[in-house]
Point group: C2
Chain length 306, copies 2
Amino acid sequence: MSEHVMVCEVGPRDGLQMAKSVMPTEAKCAWIGALAASGLREIEVGSFVPAKLIPQMADTDAVVRFSRGIPGLTVVALAPNLRGAEAALAAGAHRISIPVSVSEGHSRANLNRSPDEQVAVVAKIVAWMREAGDKAEIEVACSTAFGCSIDGAVPEHAVVRIASALAEAGVSQIALADTVGYANPAQIKSVVRAVRAEIGPVLRGLHLHDTMGLGIANALAGLEAGIRDFDSALAGLGGCPFAPGASGNIVTEDLVFMLESMGFETGIDLAKLIAARGLLHAGLPAEPMHGQLAKAGIPRTFQKAA
Amino acid sequence: MSEHVMVCEVGPRDGLQMAKSVMPTEAKCAWIGALAASGLREIEVGSFVPAKLIPQMADTDAVVRFSRGIPGLTVVALAPNLRGAEAALAAGAHRISIPVSVSEGHSRANLNRSPDEQVAVVAKIVAWMREAGDKAEIEVACSTAFGCSIDGAVPEHAVVRIASALAEAGVSQIALADTVGYANPAQIKSVVRAVRAEIGPVLRGLHLHDTMGLGIANALAGLEAGIRDFDSALAGLGGCPFAPGASGNIVTEDLVFMLESMGFETGIDLAKLIAARGLLHAGLPAEPMHGQLAKAGIPRTFQKAA
């Protein structure tokens, strides 16, 4: 049996929030349905943020409720604070992802709080969830863990400090995010190892962007450093408001192709995944779609991991 | 001191031969001049093939003679046979690159010979060059070493067999080429190690394409397997006539960014490299240019390896 690698599709959240237009709710649901039908078992479907700030996410409640109806799917929703977490739980999210920026500048710009203040917010959310009977998992995505377009380089010890504080606050799973796509493979390995040395298996995943063309190489570096959980977006959707010119998340199709080609089992059917691009395009016709595999076609030598 | 990695720019040969239009000789020379000015020390500037087959390469003699005038530059030219090698030497190429396909189908389609027949051609070229006083280096690029769009999967033992035969024929440097871009990182490491076990340091480089989006990850895998010599093309120019939809070579800018970010020294100035895209575009205005770094800009955290 091949080793399993979990791929969490974040296009409906991280991809759509940066899109120039708003995907209609019905189109979102049809797309999420197609993503799940390809074999994706975790999808981040939206975020509970004020609609006036991110109008693309105004229908997250409806999208979470729809997604809950898909058998076997873990429905993930982002929430930046307790109010958002409460809404996510009420809608039925299985997992709530809370962002915590490692860099001061990104934290202020994105959350209007310092990193330490946001760690305190997370501690409150964890305590609230325990009282609520742990009905949903709490996950933290450590933004700007590999560099920040506002503050510049982010030292490894700062990532370790925030990750440790989050683990102490009771967070059971943490992902390190290369929010602006500044990471390189050597840095990925070094930061992953330093954080794991402090918090062990609480470090679970990587969230990578392809801004500089190193996204899939960075995923490989993470894989080699023992990470078995990656965020990605179909057609490399997304971007970052604080990284002009930045491209989006790493491309799900290309990532799955690499993983399966290397003998890792993802449970995902590549042909169905590529077909789901049609529903993305139908819902957001003006949005550019990236990804090499879909352009070239699945090569005849491809063999799915058994 | 950082470890050095050699990047050989192959855009003027592998990139231009697939372009829809022909770049004028003057534009080629201006572009090659800009590439060399960015710090690239090896450039494959053209191929000595019949102009009726590849009209983009009809001016290779003039381009090689021009490039020889650039101080410190190793001028590489491709030649598929002895006649081409003689022309390359006469023009003044420092290194002559001979293609040998590992797969029968690609060998027949590209060279109208079997792999073994082409190995015999190489042996003759090596003998001729010895008689000519070793005035130029002979290098072999093993095409379809990681898969073939005609024959499908290429077994590792076939690559080892061809590489060993070439080493026995006296070839002093061999590169393994993922001609159609089917390779994955695990395969890169495995094939590199298997070939090196047989021919040692005669295995020198990797020539990678980004067809499936794994090109830079494959370069990382090669780097980790000890390869310190990579072909790439500015703006990811190129393609493959036998891989429909395939994109081109790995992007020089993105590769150099990865290498320098990881602490490897390339001698290449990224800003000047990106500026050279302007001359490529001037000479081939209709050709699409790839590459993430040029789109996003060099990040503020970037530090050149010392």
